[in-house]
């Protein structure tokens, strides 16, 4: 008898394996998923853009011989001592508390050796990071944990954090497991309790208040250091315009691929817009105010390589900032710790429970044994290597486009692979002169 045909088991696109596992986890625990990092969705990103390069109508520069400037000055609008960086790639704010002291030291060493800046984070400034960072940006956050005027005056720049790309409109939480004696003391809270970071500042609300807040910070620091304002990628056109109007020297826009130490998964994946979609509206806001290149724009959120740097700059940014990528350079999610990741129920490349303090790579932890796994000198060297590679990659592209300065890259050098990315980046779809929405 002929065997009856059967259809292949069909799994649901809507209810895929990850979705089902998350439903089961939620049903078991009654708690939403909290994790670190940024969006893991397949978002439109800089990979959707391509450089056109030089041809008959454009003249390239010799790849290895002709100079291509990478230096950038940040914050010369009002401050007397702006940041002069050798490369347009800075290290984003990450707190001591979220990161180990060794990781903070490694970031400082690596960034300083290539002439760029690092940034503090929630919880204040540690002696180690001030000591190892030649150019240190001090964050003013809603929690004001560890906020201290002496440290403010030691800083090379101040960054008012309005939002983070991973969680626009949200605060943070550092779980008790990571609150050791030192972290607790810096934050003026008891050891072992979960520390909530508020979602908005305690002493101002809108842009008019922020303008006065900036005035106060300038008065405290004698108008010496630049004031950055960091906003999450949500309404970049309006937020950048308001930040500039409020008197910022530099505006940082952090897209939804930007990482966090800990927040709800649903927040990370469903609030905010992709980094790619942030750049042109931000640039447009500054151009309309006549402030493009006068108020510098830093773009962050999922920047991974020199091509991303070049693309962000070509769209009009003055610099980029990296966080997650810097941690990967130090050793985060390295396959050499695969067995340890498996013990935590995950795998190298997917570990994101940074808030639990059990990081096998010794980076997002306060555990003494784990922290020792990261050698700050070696970590610093790895970060410096990575930053150098990114810079050289960006220069390679810029020279191929005939530019002797990374900031001479322009939208005209780009085309897009998809209609969506063409619309977001405001560049033509490849092979056409069509810019959707233009």
């Amino acid at each position: 008898m002929k065997k009856k045909s059967v259809t292949h088991p069909r799994t649901s696109y809507t209810f895929d394996a990850y979705t089902n596992s998350e439903i089961r986890r939620a049903a078991e625990t009654g708690i939403y998923d909290i994790r670190g990092g940024g969006s893991k969705r397949n978002l439109p990103n800089f990979d959707d853009l391509l450089f056109l390069g030089a041809s008959i109508s454009r003249y390239p520069l010799e790849g290895y011989r002709e100079s291509c400037n990478t230096k950038v000055t940040l914050g010369d609008r009002f401050s007397s001592n702006p940041l002069n960086l050798e490369i347009p790639i800075t290290i984003a704010g990450m707190s001591f508390g979220a990161l180990s002291a060794q990781a903070k030291e490694a970031l400082g060493r690596g960034a300083s050796s290539v002439g760029t800046s690092t940034t503090t984070g929630d919880g204040g400034m540690t002696k180690e990071e001030r000591g190892h960072s030649k150019q240190l940006v001090y964050q003013l956050l809603p929690s004001r944990y560890g906020m201290n005027p002496d440290d403010l005056r030691k800083a090379d720049a101040i960054e008012i954090v309005v939002g983070q790309g991973a969680k626009p409109g949200g605060g943070g939480m550092l779980l008790g497991q990571k609150i050791n004696d030192r972290v607790a003391e810096m934050r003026t809270l008891p050891k072992g309790i979960d520390q909530r970071s508020p979602c908005r500042h305690p002493d101002w609300t809108g842009p008019d208040d922020m303008e006065i807040k900036i005035l106060e910070l300038r008065e405290i620091t004698g108008w010496r250091v630049p004031i950055f304002v960091k906003v999450a990628g949500s309404r970049p056109y309006y937020d950048v315009a308001l930040a500039a109007k409020s008197g910022a020297d530099v505006v940082v826009v952090d897209g939804m691929q930007g990482g966090t130490a800990a927040t709800q998964e649903v927040f990370i994946e469903n609030v905010g817009i992709p980094t790619l979609a942030c750049v042109r509206p931000a640039v447009k806001a500054l151009q309309e105010l006549g402030l493009h290149r006068k108020v510098q724009l830093i773009i962050s959120g999922g920047i991974r390589n020199g091509a991303d740097v070049a693309k962000a700059l070509a769209l009009g940014a003055d610099a980029v900032s990296i966080g997650s990528a810097a941690l990967i350079a130090l050793g985060d999610n390295d396959p050499r710790y695969q067995k340890d990741y498996e013990k935590l129920g995950t795998t190298a490349g997917a570990f994101d429970d940074w808030h639990e303090g059990l990081d096998p790579a010794g980076i997002t932890t306060q555990d003494k044994k784990l922290s020792k796994r990261l050698d700050p000198k070696l970590g610093g060297r790895r970060l410096a290597n990575y930053l150098n590679v990114m810079t050289m990659e960006a220069q390679t592209i810029a020279r191929a486009c005939g530019k002797n300065d990374l900031r001479n890259l322009e939208p005209e050098d780009l085309c897009a692979l998809t209609v969506e990315s063409a619309a977001m980046a405001g560049v033509p779809l490849a092979g056409t002169n069509w810019i959707p929405g233009a």
């Binding site: 201290n148 005027p149 008891p190 305690p202 002493d203 807040k213 106060e216 008065e219 004698g222």
Partner: protein, 224 residues
């Protein structure tokens, strides 16, 4: 005693003079006309008397200095103050003493909403009433209120203490009344004494603080 007059000098010139002055100097500031960020960032043991009302962030991040405002103050008075003291003869607007780490503030009039928000060790004494959400997420230090408090007093409070003589419209999440022991009466007396105040009837004050039920994340807390 030096006199600095806003009719003749800019904010920058006045603040630069105060910040660069010698310890134990005294200043009188005339015609402040609601100026913002006046006397911000002082790190010297000096006396400053302001003749008139001030705007936002007066004495912001103050360290060591003693500042008297003969008038009222705008939002963020003494925000993130580290030490020293501030005395306001009139009323103060929102966020007075926000995230203050140390020193003390005395307000003879009323304080608006979010007085002592996120305070981290400062002592604040309000002779009048305070607005809603005062001592919100207050971590350490003491808020003393002689009058009444608006809604959600001490919401999400940590280890700070609140002493209040008047009525409380409502308490915020995790804030509860606590026993007023002899130790607390002495503590209150000392705080008042630091503000050059005496009171013969401290027994009428009630004490509020954290029930510590929100200290570690639980799903039921998230539903509040």
């Amino acid at each position: 005693m030096h006199t600095l007059d806003f009719k003749k000098l800019s904010l920058r010139e006045i603040n630069k003079t105060l910040q660069g002055s010698d310890n134990n100097s005294s200043f009188t500031i005339k015609n402040p006309k609601g100026s913002h960020a006046l006397a911000a960032g002082i790190n010297k043991k000096i006396d400053v008397k302001v003749l008139g009302s001030v705007g936002y962030y007066c004495a912001g991040m103050n360290k060591k200095s003693s500042i008297k405002i003969e008038g009222s103050a705008g939002p963020g008075l003494g925000e993130n103050m580290m030490s020293g003291n501030i005395h306001v003869t009139g009323d103060v607007s929102q966020y007075a003493g926000a995230s203050g780490h140390g020193g003390n503030i005395l307000v003879e009039g009323n304080a608006s909403s979010r007085c002592g928000i996120s305070m981290k060790g400062i002592d604040i004494v309000i002779k009048g009433n305070v607005g809603h959400m005062s001592a919100f997420m207050a971590q350490k230090g003491t808020l003393v209120i002689f009058g009444d408090a608006g809604h959600a007093l001490g919401d999400s409070i940590y280890e700070a203490n609140i002493y209040i003589a008047g009525k409380v419209s409502s308490l915020g999440a995790d804030c509860v009344e606590k026993k007023m022991t002899k130790k607390h009466i002495i503590n209150l007396k000392n705080i008042l004494s630091n503000a050059n105040l005496t009171d013969d009837n401290l027994g009428r004050f009630k004490r509020f603080g954290s029930s510590r039920s929100l200290y570690n994340f639980k799903v039921d807390n998230a539903k509040i």
